[in-house]
């Protein structure tokens, strides 16, 4: 199992909730298609796409870091975590620019149903990103500590350590996964 059972209960629970969000959105979209299409046309697809690329790159860096820590070398892991955090930061900057543009154009949560879903879904996802950034900082410290002791740990401790790291990285991949669906749903689907 990649990570602890508890983290998978949490991840799957989160995925079920977001799955319901997606379904509810598509249902109500079908009832008022014109409004949803008009509102969607004001979104900047480039922001959504660039943010997908940021999270995918971040996930890949994190996967590389885990691989490095598993193979006892651990020398590259902290650098990969830093790169992953920079991508997460890139996502956050783009998202804030996007929110700013919308709010200065007078578009808020109460403008219409499309924007209500847009703000709630992307806002909740953004909260996940912020928590994930905290997790990445924690993993970065863990990776640095592993470098300092040259990756050597008794077998049992090493397993526990990797379990903890995999739990954190699985959460970060879930953040990526949810955005992969939000991007076409909110920005692209006509």
């Amino acid at each position: 199992m990649p990570g602890e059972v508890g983290i998978w209960v949490f991840i799957l629970g989160d995925m079920v909730i977001f799955g319901l969000f997606f379904i509810v959105f598509v249902y109500y979209r079908g009832l008022d298609l014109e409004l949803y299409l008009q509102s969607q046309a004001t979104l900047n697809q480039n922001y959504g796409a660039i943010n997908t690329l940021f999270l995918l790159a971040s996930s890949w860096f994190v996967a590389m870091a885990v691989d490095d820590m598993r193979s006892k070398t651990t020398r590259l892991a902290p650098r990969f975590f830093v790169l992953a955090m920079l991508c997460g930061l890139g996502f956050a900057v783009v998202k804030i620019i996007e929110y700013r543009e919308k709010i200065t154009a007078g578009i808020t949560l109460t403008t219409n149903d499309f924007y209500m879903y847009y703000y709630i879904f992307t806002g909740l996802h953004f909260l996940h990103v912020l928590i994930g950034m905290g997790v990445l900082v924690f993993l970065w410290f863990k990776a640095r500590a592993a470098v300092q002791r040259k990756g050597e740990l008794p077998v049992g401790d090493k397993e526990k350590e990797m379990m903890l790291i995999e739990s954190g990285t699985s959460y970060w991949h879930m953040v990526d996964l949810l955005w992969i669906v939000l991007f076409p749903l909110l920005y692209l689907m006509k």
């Binding site: 199992m1 997606f22 790159a57 691989d67 076409p184 689907m189």
Partner: protein, 115 residues
């Protein structure tokens, strides 16, 4: 040390270079490349190509394709990044059930909004 070899050896320590190369050759890196390309494809498909007005059959097919691409990407993330491909069968089944149910429900509601 490393006379006459690639200049990259001098710029980057040899161990870093070797480790990087071994990491780039892993399946997870191929998965990542595929995900980035799929994202660029979706990005391009989502642009207005002046094919026709929204909600004609072309757009419906393109939108369905965008949803399918997204869930294929999701499955790659789950199996390769989250390493579920090495997890017990039960977790694989739960994840695949989620992918199929959510993707199926979205496509169903997209094509039959007034079921």
């Amino acid at each position: 040390m490393a006379h006459g070899r690639f200049t990259v050896d001098r710029a980057i320590p040899t161990f870093v270079f070797n480790e990087m190369m071994s990491l780039f050759l892993k399946p997870v890196s191929a998965a990542w490349l595929l995900l980035m390309l799929a994202t660029c494809l979706s990005w391009w498909l989502g642009q207005d190509h002046d094919l026709s007005a929204p909600q004609t059959s072309d757009y419906r097919l393109i939108s369905s394709g965008l949803i399918l691409i997204a869930f294929i990407k999701v499955r790659i993330v789950i199996f390769y990044f989250m390493e579920v491909r090495q997890a017990p069968l039960a977790l694989k089944l739960v994840c695949d059930t989620w992918v199929l149910l959510v993707c199926g429900a979205i496509l169903y509601l997209y094509w039959m909004p007034h079921f």
